[in-house]
Symmetry: C2
Subunit: 474 residues, 2 copies
């Protein structure tokens, strides 16, 4: 081992020299003692190159990563090495001809990602046999083939990756996969699930995005339950849409199935962060049992009708209106040659009067401007008040009840197909895949957001939105 010594990534200067001298590697368990008596124990991690020269990144027992300053008079010693703890016994898995074939595409990876839940790709980095060892329940569910596409943090998941991921999914479906799971970081999952929803035409099988809010090395990880439920849905769910499957509550009781274009990360840290906004979730999965709450679910279809349409123009931006907003930023956006703008307006979708000059300029230059609502719940409605009517006269396009997460990729996609402003308006104002609904259920605002009483309330109010509560048992 020591012969192939590599110092941990990202360290510089005197601290790097010291780590090399002590032969301290990534995953070294070290003990640090400072002159003042302070002492630390933990696992050495790679470090951001932006960190100050003398800070060491240490994963401590609580599961958190600390940045610890290491002055000259402190001592640091390797007292162990952790990688062995992550060794997972391989388990031979035979393909079972009676089970459906499902592919799990990882968009993150590397062993390091197992310490970083946001990559959403904790499991995809494993080999198939390792995966089945870590989550043995999966063996009974289906023939699962994990493949690693790339390893990126979800905030770096840009439109280019939407296309690459869609192409990989299409390839798997065309090769006979009966369901697809995509491991994805949670930060931008709602944007990716929306983009994929516009790309897949006549999707024949479920495409399930799944992630984790707690890394797999923490006892509270939500990863295993989410992956088991996502796999159950991909393998058996009679559904052919892009959906997100994540914890419905902070307990490990059930996952919710969210339509890809109506889901939003609504809490920065909770395990039940994903919420269907302005609609009812499609259903829930509890102990692998699937219950659908809604009627208007696209069911599994024929492979021959399926095709991919990923034509995309990435030169689109989003602006967030605030009191006193000056038109200079929107002017800069037009100067810089953006092809489309989503404005997140206040209330029913308004901006202040000073913005009018920039709206007029966008209209003259035929740059589509789509309005969504800052409250997130509810519809744009620009025919009610003077401001809205002014805005309509200046050519803005009503985003209706599209979430920003759906309006942004949809405008990229519309501009990929046409530059004609009337055609773009038509595409943006027409519901394609559930991103615009006729109305929001009464319970769409208050109850779907409510975590503790929500299942109870779904049932109480179910007659208002669906009479199709069917149960499936695996």
């Amino acid at each position: 081992m020591k012969s192939s010594y590599v110092p941990p990534d990202g360290y510089r200067g005197k601290l790097l020299e010291r780590l090399i001298r002590e032969k301290i590697r990534t995953w070294s368990i070290v003990k640090i003692e400072k002159e003042d008596g302070a002492h630390f124990e933990g696992v050495v991690l790679p470090r951001s190159v932006h960190t100050s020269d003398d800070y060491l990144t240490l994963k401590v027992d609580t599961g958190y990563n600390l940045g610890i300053q290491l002055p000259d008079d402190a001592t640091i010693k390797e007292i162990g090495y952790r990688s062995g703890e992550y060794k997972i016994p391989e388990r031979k898995v035979e393909k079972n001809p009676n089970l459906p074939n499902v592919t799990l595409l990882g968009t993150g990876g590397t062993v390091a990602s197992r310490l970083d839940y946001r990559t959403g790709a904790v499991l995809p980095a494993f080999t198939p046999s390792e995966l089945f060892s870590a989550v043995p329940e999966l063996i009974e569910i289906c023939n699962l083939t994990p493949k690693t596409l790339y390893k990126i943090l979800s905030e770096n998941f840009c439109p280019e990756y939407w296309i690459k991921t869609a192409e990989a999914v299409a390839k798997e479906i065309e090769s006979g996969a009966e369901g697809i799971i995509i491991g994805h970081g949670t930060d931008t999952m709602g944007y990716s699930s929306s983009a994929l929803s516009f790309f897949f035409q006549n999707l024949p099988v479920p495409v399930v995005l799944v992630g984790s809010q707690r890394s797999s090395d923490r006892p509270s990880s939500d990863g295993p339950m989410n992956i088991i439920n996502a796999t159950s849905l991909a393998a058996y769910g009679d559904l052919a849409e892009v959906v997100v499957v994540m914890h419905g509550t902070t307990s490990d009781d059930y996952d919710l199935i969210h339509r890809g274009v109506r889901v939003r990360k609504m809490h920065s840290a909770r395990r039940d962060t994903f919420r269907t906004v302005g609609d009812t979730p499609l259903g829930k999965i509890q102990n692998r049992h699937i219950t659908f709450f809604k009627k208007d679910i696209k069911r599994r279809g024929k492979l021959e009708d399926f095709y991919l349409d990923t034509k995309l123009d990435e030169r689109v931006t989003m602006l967030y209106f605030y009191p006193g907003m000056d038109p200079d930023i929107m002017d800069a956006v037009i100067d810089k040659g953006y092809h489309g703008i989503v404005i997140i307006g206040t209330g029913l979708g308004h901006v202040g009067k000073p913005m009018y000059s920039a709206l007029e300029r966008a209209q003259e230059e035929e740059i589509p401007v789509v309005i969504t609502v800052q409250p997130l719940y509810g519809f744009t409605h620009l025919r009610v008040y003077e401001t809205g009517r002014d805005m309509l006269a200046m050519g803005v396009i009503e985003g209706k009840n599209m979430l920003p997460e759906a309006a942004f990729p949809k405008l990229c996609w519309a501009l990929g197909h046409t530059q004609n402003i009337d055609e773009i308006r038509e595409i943006m104002e027409t519901n394609i895949t559930g991103e615009i609904t006729k109305r929001e259920p009464y319970s769409g605002f208050t109850i779907m957001q409510g975590g503790v009483p929500d299942v109870y309330e779904y049932l109480k109010y179910k007659d208002r939105f669906s009479r199709d509560i069917s149960e499936k048992y695996l």
Copy 2:
């Protein structure tokens, strides 16, 4: 009447000539008949000058405003005049020495505003005696003096008005008002309530923002209940904070009391649109009875300690991060000389790697960059992952659980006091008036958002956040 004929505002060309010929005024009730048999009846309203030449704006019986095209072969006739319906009998009100003195400041006004709920100033346009006739319950509550400050739509309520409003409030308090009510449009109410929260130092009395989601000419108006409850709180509430009082549910059962820096418009249209985000509402008001849910409420204080601090730098902007965001817009913001930037980042407060160059430039030029979270619920946490640690190394300031509505005015206010980046960081990262909390209650995410079961749930979970459920009866 006909001698002082004035045509309705905003019309042009042939349609204007026609309206003049028919002597049709604003508030004329007209009947329109088209060649194809279509016919309409409604009240003529002033029109946006941006509307196409031949469209007439008509308020119809459903309460909505329609834009109706009037071709040459259609007929239009005045069949009545509506203003009489709005005549409210005046009622003489004697000052009652046993009741507290409260001032109601209107930030909207004009009779037209009574047809446009968003001005939030439906009542302030009335004379005191008209107001008591329209909502006679107010007479029993206090000596209420309504004053009209200005008449603007809330999307045009820019930082300049925050200052003007604060000065007007201070003047009233210094003249002996025992409570203040501010009628405000709902679109940007959360921004204004936050700004005022930072301006008032040692506030001695309640400052209550109130609005309406339905105009007073519609039977479903929420205005009367909101104004009665807001007045009760301003007159009797043992509270000295800036708060928002609006419907707690879609029924007329109770209003919630929201802390000014923790409240957000969460639905574009519902009457219960305002929600406390990431905390428990301060309390509720039902039939004028005030119930507090929380302990940490600032109580009424002495007038001599009160002062105003409205130093503000308005050259602040907000940017909304999205997948693939290019740094060119943030570069433009820096080029244009903005003094501060709030970035609404994904997840725990992240941006993608391409944004790093702009963050570095802001750091070099000592422009403060404050991060808040796109999920709205939860805290920034930039010490957990590589991206966050990179961002901290580039000098970004953690907004913690500040809402965008609070972070934006707070950064304007911080920059009004100092240009020193370390002092700005200190101000932004320190809780001043409840905009940053130590933790969010368990029920802050799921239940406060839930409308139907919320009061029940407050009580069920109250021990987790407060043991001070006191009741006040007027």
